[in-house]
């Protein structure tokens, strides 16, 4: 097992600050860069900076926002936009559903889970999932809130920056901004590779994703997740049965 990057926190308040501190480095920079890209896109669309801000604050899930902007610009019907965004951001359902059980504990009002769900996106999921099991039960909601809120609040700033610098950055920098996200996730995935089911899921996903995309672009991600994830899960359980006492995910 890899040691956690830092020891568990002394208090819940320290967990809130710790989450904020851990988010404030590379995760915030990568996420900021992608929202800079989104702000530039909205500028291209001839929408206002307020539209850009409203989208970032109300949706806060970049792939869906980008699809919305591209489709609106090309004149797609409203229904098609809504369906596309629903479908693209449906990946948030398994993210939220797999993360919140780590957070839940008795005596916490239900609405707080619905609130903190707004702070769960791919970046905060990958960043917090690997830390939550090391934290005390009563610190986890605070940690996630600190982590997620730091990213959430930095996003509108990046969106506005992107809106106003759109025409002033060279093309190669724009490409680097777009490339940042897959690169960042790739390295985060390689950070801890000690659970067999997780390693298999990453491996199957990385192979199936590009292959299926060429066959059925619209459905490739769903099929990749279901087929690759299910196979990894089944094989991981099989491995765990041989080595009892090891949690396989």
């Amino acid at each position: 097992m890899n040691a956690p990057p830092q020891p568990a926190f002394a208090t819940a308040r320290a967990a809130l600050r710790g989450g904020a501190r851990e988010a404030a480095g590379v995760p915030m920079m990568v996420m900021g860069a992608s929202f800079i890209g989104f702000g530039s896109m909205i500028r291209d669309l001839d929408w206002t900076v307020w539209n850009a801000l409203a989208s970032t604050l109300s949706t806060w899930a970049l792939p869906g926002q980008i699809a919305m902007a591209e489709m609106a610009y090309s004149g797609a019907p409203l229904l098609a936009v809504v369906l596309a965004v629903t479908f693209i951001n449906a990946r948030l359902l398994p993210l939220v559903m797999s993360l919140l059980p780590h957070i839940r504990r008795p005596g916490v009002a239900t609405w707080r889970y619905y609130g903190v769900a707004m702070l769960i996106a791919a970046t905060s999921w990958v960043g917090t999932m690997r830390r939550l099991p090391d934290l005390d039960q009563d610190q986890r909601l605070h940690y996630l809130t600190g982590y997620g809120l730091t990213l959430y609040l930095s996003s509108p700033i990046a969106t506005v920056i992107g809106f106003y610098v759109a025409d002033q950055v060279p093309g190669s920098l724009t490409l680097a901004l777009v490339f940042l996200n897959p690169l960042y996730f790739m390295l985060l995935f390689l950070f801890d590779l000690h659970k067999p089911a997780k390693v298999l899921a990453l491996l199957f996903g990385a192979v199936l994703g590009p292959v299926l995309f060429q066959i059925t672009p619209n459905w490739s991600l769903v099929i990749t997740g279901l087929a690759g994830g299910s196979a990894a899960w089944a094989l991981g359980r099989h491995a765990a049965r041989k080595k009892p006492g090891q949690n396989n995910v």
Partner: protein, 116 residues
């Protein structure tokens, strides 16, 4: 990426609101279902595996078969930049920040030198 003459047909506010509601629906449903199952359950382990596979598939697709601006770059540029990021990540004992920085600088350098 955009056709310069096209204009959007709907009010931005309407489309942004609909997109936001469509997005939060997934978060709300995820929250609802997460309250119905125990953390150590096989179902949650399965959902976690599905999520990892889905995100890994998305990342691999974004690097190998990008859409948008990156699609104008040749495969070897993206693969070299990803390789540079990975190499620095390994050499620096899993420093994600330096890996991302190296990969980004690599793609800027390759694009500038080759003029895509």
């Amino acid at each position: 990426m955009f056709e310069p003459t096209a204009t959007s047909l709907y009010s931005p506010t309407l489309i942004i609101t609909m997109a936001a509601l469509a997005t939060y629906a997934s978060r709300a449903l995820g929250t609802y279902f997460s309250g119905k199952v125990a953390r150590q359950s096989a179902l949650i382990e399965w959902v976690t595996c599905v999520t990892y596979a889905l995100l890994a598939g998305l990342v691999a697709r974004m690097i190998l078969l990008p859409i948008g601006a990156l699609s104008a770059t040749p495969d070897w540029v993206r693969l070299s930049a990803a390789g540079a990021g990975l190499a620095v990540f390994i050499v620096t004992r899993k420093n994600v920040g330096l890996g991302v920085l190296a990969g980004s600088l690599a793609i800027i350098a390759l694009v500038e030198w080759n003029g895509f």
